[in-house]
Each structure stands twice: as C-alpha cells, then as structure tokens.
Amino acid sequence: MAKVKRYKYRNTAMYLMLAPYMAFLIGFGLIPIVMAVFEVPQKSLTNQNGGWDAFKIVVHDFRFMPAARHVLGFMAIFVPLMLFFVLAMALMLDLDAGKWKKYVRLAYIVPASISGAVAVLVWYVILQPTISPIKMILRWLHITQAQQIWQTQNLVFILSLMAFFTAAGQWILIQYGSLQSVSHEIIEAARVDGCNPFQLALRIKLPLISKYVVYMGVLVFAGGLQIFVEPQILNQSVYQGIASAWSFDQLSYELAFTTGDFGGASALSILLLIPSLLGALIVIFKTDMFDDATTLHRKKVKKHGKMKRAEALS
C-alpha cells in the first residue's frame, strides 16, 4: 500500500514540473490551431453567409494567385540554391582540415545576424548605387539608380538573395558538423579503393548525411513558405506599394487587419500549415533523424522486458 502511495506522489511532482511546458504547448501550440479552425466558418464581409466556403473564397481572392506565383517563384530559387550551395560549401570545407578554416567558419556565421529589418537596411544599401559597397559592380552593370533594381517583378530574385544570404552561412556550418559524423574509416577505405575527392563527396559523404539534407530541406521549405517580414517592411516603409500582399502571409495579414476578415485569414493560415505539417511528419517518420524520440518507448519496453526476463532467469 505504502509503495502505491509513494508511486503516486512521485508522479504528481513530475507532472507538476512538466505542467508549465505542457500549458505552453497546449495553450500556444494546439489551441490556436483549434481556434483558427473555429474562426474559419464565421460570417465576414467576404463570407457573408458564413460556413466553410471561406477556404474557396480565399483561394479565389484576386490577390491569392499573384501571391502564390511570387512565393512559388521565390521558393523555386531559394530552396534549390540553398541545398546546392550549402552542401557544396560544406563539402569544400570538409576537404582538408586547415587551421585557417576556423576563421572562415566564424565569418560564415555573421550574416545570420542580418535578418528581418536589418536585412532590409543592408540590402537597401547594397543595391543603392550611391552608397553601395559594390558600387563598382553596379556601375559596371549600368545600374545608376535604385529604381532600376527595386521593381515588383525583381522582388522574387532580391528576396531570394536576401533569404539565402541570411540562412546559408549557418546551414553550411550545420552541414559541415553533420559531415564530421561520417567515420574516418569509411573515408579512408574509399580513398584506398581509388575514390577521388569528387567521388568521395558524391558517393560516400552525401548519402551518409542524406537525413540531415532532408531535415534542412524541410526547415528551409517551411520557413520560405512563410516569408513575411522583408516584403512587408519594404512595402510599408521603404518603397511603398512595391510588395503589397506579395506573399501568402502578407495576404493573410491584410485580410485580418485591413478588411477584418479573420475567417479568411485563418483559412489561409490553415492552408499554409498543411505543407509545413507534412514536412514535419516526413522528417519525423520517414528519416531516422529523430529515431531516439519516436522509438524510445518501444525500445524501453523491450529493454525492460529483457531485464525482467533476465532477473527471472537468475
């Protein structure tokens, strides 16, 4: 009896320690999604009868297709560029172990601090022919006025470059870190078998870090889909009107805060959540990236069972 009491007490304390995190997880992870689902069928200016037509209405909004074109164009440049460039750079860093490379790695982390509003400021300067640190190159390209560059149709490229510049360095370091997990014996064996550095990279190293590549791909894709801050600041505060409802998130923001259509905004949020959720599920269940977490229970039960059996046998 006493044993049962102690067991109960132990778990109560544990649940108490877990409670703050669980409160956040349920309160700010789960409930907002449930609330968004309930918000969708509410009556609004665009969905006057209410109901689930809100999804159809938002997809048929005149700003939806342009936003889709912009975001898909942005992703088509940003995601492959990131994957190709980051992996190539990480493999180059991993070619040999020069001491000077630690300084290079330190430099690669610097652009990670140039994001959001600061990124807009820095890129405003870089692409401003009068004050740019690359004004020679701009002059060589016959760009003498900022207006030649800052056009709505160029934003796909400019924003891809901005996002790439912020994210590439840190991902190079992370993938370089993942390459350090490839065992030296395998590399040596491949070298003895006559692999040149190129074959070593393509046939040995890349397949061995493929789960990290998928992990990066999913995070980069999910992040890119939600692009908001840079086009929003550009549109509102620098070149007004250049990127109005340019991305999905900007459209969602505009629906909510300009027209007060929270049902439509929630419907769009849910539509955008689906690919992110699918990506997350792929990383969790289709790669062994988080094997420890997803199979922990089963392994433990097996181990526990084995121990019990061993005890019984002895």
Binding site: R10, L18, S115, A117, S178, D249, S276, A293
Partner: protein, 312 residues
Amino acid sequence: MTITSMLPSKEKRAAKKRRSSIRQDKRWANNLVNGWLIFFAICCVVPMIWLILAPTKTDGQLSNQNPLAFGKLSGYVKAWKNLQFFDDGVIGRWAINSIWYTAAIVLIATVTASLAGFVITASNIRFKKAFLISTLITMLVPPVALVIPMFVLVNSIHLLDNPWGVILVSSLYPFGAFLSYIYYSTTIPKELYESARLDGCNDFQLYSKIAFPLSWPLLSLLAFFAFVGNWANYFMPYVLLPSSENYTLPLGLGFLFHGTPAINPAVGATSVPIGKPEIALAGVLVAVPIMIVFMLSQKRLVRGMLAGSIKS
C-alpha cells in the same frame, strides 16, 4: 621495386611528367577551392563591416567616401544623440523593451523546457511518446505559421498590446524541450536518479540537487537558441504589440524606416535629424548583440541543430 623503375627511361620521364601534372592539377584545384571559401567569407563580413562603420560617418561621407572607410568614433555619440529627437527618445524605451522581453522569454523558456526534458527522462509518466512527437511537430512547424491564430487567441485573453502576450506566446520552446530530453537521456545515467531516490530525494530534489547542477552545458545551449530566436523576432511582436511604446528594437527599426526620410523616399523633409548613420546605428543595436552571441556560440549552434542524431 616500383613499376616505373622497370620502364625504359623515356617512359619513366613521361610517367614522372604525368604524376607532376596531376599533382599540379590537384594543387591548382585546392587553391581554387580555398580561394572560393575565402571569397565567400569576405562576402559574409563586408555588409556587417559597412553597418558597423556607417554610424562613424556623416550622410555626405556615406555617399562620397569609400564604403568601408572609417569616419570618426564620435559619430556614434552624435548618431545616438540625434536618435533621441525621434519621438522623445523612444529608442531607449525600445532597447529596454528588447532587453527585458528577451530576458523574460529566455528565462521562462529555458526553465520550462529544461524541466520538461528532465521529467520525460527521469519519470515513468504516461504518454511520453505522444509528448515527444507533438513536441517535434511543433518544433518543425515555423512559429510564423500560427501568427494570425495566435492574434485571435491573445486578443480573446485580453493580452493584446501587453508585453506579457508576446513573452508568454514566445516562451513555448519545443526545440528546447527536445534538446533537454536528448541531453538528460544521454548524459545522466538513470542509476544516479535511482540511488538518489534510495538516499531519500524526492522528485523536486532529484531535479534541483542532481539534474540541475549537471545541466549547465544544456542551460547555456537552451539560452543561446532562445536568445537568437527572439532578439530579432519581428512578426509576433508586430502583430501583438500595436503601440509604438511597446515596440522592440527590430520593430522600432522598421518604424524608423517608415517615419523618417533616411531610406524612405515617400517621407518629405522633416526637422528630425535622422539620416542613414542614425538608422545604421539602430541596425547595429539589433544585429551586433546577436552576431556576438552567434560567434561565441558557433559550436552550440551545430551541436544543438544536430542533437538527437549525433551523440558525440
């Protein structure tokens, strides 16, 4: 005896020439790769150097001088004084807001995530797997995806335009909970908890006397990721804090773009002396703290992002 020593002297010379040309090719390729690595490193640091140097110069010097020239150190003081003319020195308020919101988020997120990871490894509570999978899903979905639903929620609990709305919402730290689960399950043996229990420790003491003193590497990792994720966060405060006196520095920087003619051609001439050096100084205040933390914690970044799959 090597193969070449058996060859006639003409062929020997040809083989030697071939080997040396391969070696030269290799050296040339190596130099090319290293040169490219260094070139990209320069590209990475030049914008930051420009940003740090810009407040030392005047508006005119920014246009006429070499972009990477140094002006005067007193330029920083002048730019700061000029920034005080904007909205009665609201920039000081933004800086204080940024510091205290981020400090509160780092503290709450680090403590709750560390406790959660500890409980999952040290207890026999139910639904561990469900907890871990929901944590992983929340961790892999970008928080931006939930901003509009979050606005609806925060509005309904009357925390809109209240700093605590942003602090509480941003304190959900699934990545931290996962990191601490990995840390506790790989570094503290279960036997340690068992012997502590036998010595009379209750579960709170198990954390405070056993796990917590062994957690400093984890806590620094959690604080690092919480800091870099929140110091420059824009979207969540932008939606949840409409009043300018509640802004953080990144929001304030956007507001400066909007309200001054420094980089916004639509704003006409104003009496407020805010030019590009002043805007750059506000940019430095946002970017430099995060850059320093990143540079000091480079290894933490890699270790944290790959946690769970690479044990060493």
